[in-house]
Amino acid sequence: MKAFASILVVVLGAVLLHASKDFPLLGDAMSPANNHPVARHYIEETVNDTHVRNLVTAVLADYRGYDTMFETVVVFVAGIGILAVIGVPTARIRQNENLGSTRQFGVDSDLIILQTCRLIVPVLQLFALYVIAHGHHSPGGGFQGGVLFGASYILLALSGGLREALRRLSESLSFRLAAFGIVLYAGVGLLSMALGGNFLDYAVLDRLLPGDVAMARSHSMLIVEAGVGFTVTTILFVIYANLATRGNLEDGL
């Protein structure tokens, strides 16, 4: 197997390196990828259309919003998948199943670590909310803020024990919030369909949101980013909680 893998890798690598002769040099502004009319349209027209200065957020949440909705669904399905593999009662891995001696899971947390992390967690959560909300004007957006928020719960679990984190965000609440995030995203799309436009066509939501058409697009982007943030936060925490305890959420890492 190793010989086959080595030969395959060498041959494939040689073919790809030979093909790299035709790639444009790094930094070429006139390369086909950079010169494409779609890319130029996004750079030139985004601020006029949506009043959002961060091009990546605008393309992610508005021009390619359908893509992002299904990406959120993928994250949610991964959470459900982890639940199905190790989280539900019939799938839970027992303590002494093929594992030899049982381990001692201690939940006694170190005082310095606990108190330091208690200072960090609220600041981290506030920063995560800022990243979600300010994603229109600076690097950020729903995913980045959602991951930061989820990481704050993971930090709480690492420093004070998983029970502390589960007291604040239990598994059932996590899944409800994750589903709510997707419902919020798809709900915005269905609402715009109900008002006469296409699915996820934010321009027709101008009737319900303050400001002109471009501001309506900006506000709807914030709403869908919040939905993405909900899902990503809770599912990342669920992934960590299930992986750290082999599904039974009894004692933490």
Partner: protein
């Protein structure tokens, strides 16, 4: 875009990837994968892809490393190859 910085980071990147895959201690391998994620995040930030770098720093160097270490903790720490 500073080309020399770019080139150095690429060399470190390849070295980190090879080390991560050759360590027998899986805890060390996960940590070096975290280093690899940080280096590639720096590379993307140097190339101007700030959103991608932000996401990789949060996801790759943060959550991904933590869940990998959690799994190593629950299974075996030393691998045979």
């Amino acid at each position: 875009m500073i080309y020399v910085l770019d080139f150095l980071l690429l060399i470190f990147l390849v070295v980190a990837a090879v080390i991560s895959l050759r360590l027998k201690d899986l805890l060390g391998a996960s940590m070096v994968l975290g280093v690899y994620s940080f280096l590639i995040c720096l590379l993307w930030a140097a190339m101007g892809a700030v959103d991608v770098a932000f996401t990789e720093a949060a996801v790759g160097a943060g959550v991904s490393t933590v869940i990998l270490i959690a799994t190593v903790y629950q299974t075996r720490r030393i691998s045979k190859d």
